[in-house]
Structures are given as C-alpha cells and as structure tokens.
Symmetry: C2
Amino acid sequence: MRIRAKVAYDGTDFFGFQRQADARTIQGEIETALERVFGERMTVTAAGRTDAGVHAIGQVIAFEVDWRHALDALTRSLNANLSDDVAVRELQVCDTDFHPRYAAVSRTYEYTAYSCDVRQPLWRRYAWQLEQAPNLALMNEAAQYLVGAHDFAAFGSAPSGREEETTVREVMRAEWRSAGDRLQFTIEANAFLFRMVRRIVTALVKVGQGRHHPDDVKEMLESKDAQRITGLAPASGLCLVAVKYRVQ
Amino acid sequence: MRIRAKVAYDGTDFFGFQRQADARTIQGEIETALERVFGERMTVTAAGRTDAGVHAIGQVIAFEVDWRHALDALTRSLNANLSDDVAVRELQVCDTDFHPRYAAVSRTYEYTAYSCDVRQPLWRRYAWQLEQAPNLALMNEAAQYLVGAHDFAAFGSAPSGREEETTVREVMRAEWRSAGDRLQFTIEANAFLFRMVRRIVTALVKVGQGRHHPDDVKEMLESKDAQRITGLAPASGLCLVAVKYRVQ
C-alpha cells in the first residue's frame, strides 16, 4: 500500500531535504526511521526538495509499505524513531500512483523577517534580522508584479540537471503582513524555481528599504536576467507551509 | 560607572542563568564577553535567576565598567562577543546603587503551550506539547484565585539557602489567552518562588483538562502544602518577558 503524510521539520540542523551520502538530511532521517520500523530500506518521495536550513510544517511525502495495523500506530512508531526536529503527521492511504511532486497543484511558502538593531536570540533559527525597518506598503506594491504567470528566470534557475526546463511559473498570491514585531511574506505558486522565494524576498526587502523602486521589480522580472538580483535572504526565515493537490 | 541592560536568551542550551564552574550559563557567557571587552573579570547581577532551559526577552542585569565611548558601541562590542543564543540591548547608565533584583517591583513571565497529537518540531524549544486540549475558560477561572497577595508555599519554595524567607507573594495578573494554535499564560507578580510559574502552569493545565475543578486551585493555595501539586511543566515553555522598576 502507498501512504501519504505531512512532514514538519526544523531545518536548522539538516543539510536540506534530499538524501546525501555523508550529511544529515530529512529524507535520510525518515528513510532510516522507516527502515527501523519495517526492517527494510525504502525510498521516500516529496513535494519539494527544501534547501539546507529551510523549515517545513506542510511538506508532503509518500512511500510504499506493507502495514496491517491502524495508521495512528504507524504515526507513533515513525515519530518514536525520528529525532525531535522532524515529525510525520496525518498519514493516509493514497492511490498507488500518487506522486507528491507531480500531483501538486501549488506550494505555499512563508518567509519571516524582523527589524531590530540587536539580534533576537529566540528568533535566530526562524527569521531574518533586518537592520533597517522596511516599508510594508512598498513591498506589497512590488509583490503584485509577481502575481500571475511569468518567466521567473531573473528570480531563480530550473532545478539542476534540468536546464532545458521552462522557467515560467504561476504565482497565485504574494503578500507581506505584519505579525506582532515580525513581518511575514506568504507566496503561493504552482511550483518554484531553485532559490526563487529567497531571491524574491531579497528584492522585495530592498524595495521596502528604499534601495529599489517598486517598479524596479517589474523591470527585473521582464529582464529575465539572474544577474539583476544580488544577495540571498537567509534560509532560516523560510518555511514550506502547504502543498495543495487537485484530488485530496 | 554602572550600566543596566536588558538581556534576551534562548535558554535551551544553557544550565540556567547563574554562573557555575563547569556548566554553560548565561551569567558566565556575559561575564566572559565583558572580560574580552574590558580585559578584566567582573560580576553581573540580574533581576532573576532563571532555571536551566528557561528563556528571556526581558531579563535585566547591571555591572560596573569604565567606558568612555557611546553605549551603542558597547552594545555592539558585547554582542559581537556573545554567542548567538544570547544578546544584550537597551544599555543605559544607572545609579551606582541600582540592583536589578532588589529594585524590581514586578516580574512578568509568559508560558506557551499547544495541544496536538503529534509534536511540532518548530515549537519544541519554546512550548509545552499537551496531548489533550485544555479548556481556556476553566483555566482562567482557576487562575483568578491566584491574583492578590497570598502565601504561595503550595506552589514553590523560597530560593535555596533562604528557607527562613516568607513565601508570600503578590500576583498582579494571571491569565491565559489563545494565540493562533498556541495557548499563552501571562503572570505578573512582585516576585516568584522557586519553580512557582511552572507549578502554577501544571495545576492550571490539569484544571483545563478536567482533572481538577477550578476551586481545587483555591484549596491548594490555602493548604500551603507543596505535596499537593505533582508534576512540573517543562522549562522550555517559560520565558521571562519583563521586569518593572519604580524609577525607570
């Protein structure tokens, strides 16, 4: 049977999602837990391969197992075999051909930032510290140029090994809001290019700090030139919050 | 000159505030940073000695130094010499006899909890996971019995080495509110007994889960019997958020 699950993790101490021979990764951690429970090695597929340091509360994975008990018991078994910075939840039996990446119709990421002269130790793992407070209205004005189907070549590259792939993506939603002393950016798209969210955040924060005009973001997008955006917002602020599927 | 400062820390990887010979503590970390900046060893006094694992955003400290530059420069120097889980902020020159503990008129703590079947990796350092959702209204009903001046002997002991001290404390405010998927308890008192907040949280959560009646908390308080409260809410959920002084 094929099982689908949500995965949450604190990405701080992982070298990203994808399995690597000599580094601690979320995929490696989950496959090791499955091996402990089932006594055999199996491969997990995921909706997105988050980078090193990126978090998730709504990553989606799938794997094939032979399990004859309640799914609650499997949830407990797996979580007992996972370290405390990763957990699986909402396990359900899915179609045998369900693929978390190809079947996904959208992904939603959140990016968290805060502005303060002095770093905040309690937020250091989960937010980007800005030394200059950005203007939220300007950032949202610029963000609106990104909504819709566009060639996002200026904001990211196709996954490695697939350079021939299109860099057109459709953004359904892109907006900043203030949440207490923090700023939160939510972006939903059918899919994302490599480092696309962090490059978008970089450009929008510069707009918010008056170093770019909102219209510059439109021009960057139209240029399709990856050299136009310098700097990269830290991975710690980024979290994969949800993946949507046509057939739930 | 005497300097007063606010201190924020992620207590997870510290053995509490107070200096210990062979363990990493916040006081030890700050005194080491001061020694690096000033070339001599000095002692820091604090408003409260938080336990191992307890966090702070509003701890207050004071220390004597000879500094002839702007306080902003001292803030930067100290933070550059502190590890990323502790930071000092809002440095100001204070009276030569200012003592952060004795001069304080109140301390405010926040305790964060959440209820979920599966642990949340992103909250594990900062919140208590409850397996059964508590009733907020019942917890607040019980919390009101704690407001005012009472003998809190049932909820904590005087600091070690000072057993003769009174266990009467005055609670100005004690209330739970829901914050998104989390529950947050705020308690302000003139001072707290050893482990008092975590023992109060333990008792109130049991009320919220129907294992005690709200009136039981009144009875516990009146019993002055420390045996009445079993269990201890984890340190990870607790944060010292503010210390108030008569003369700011």
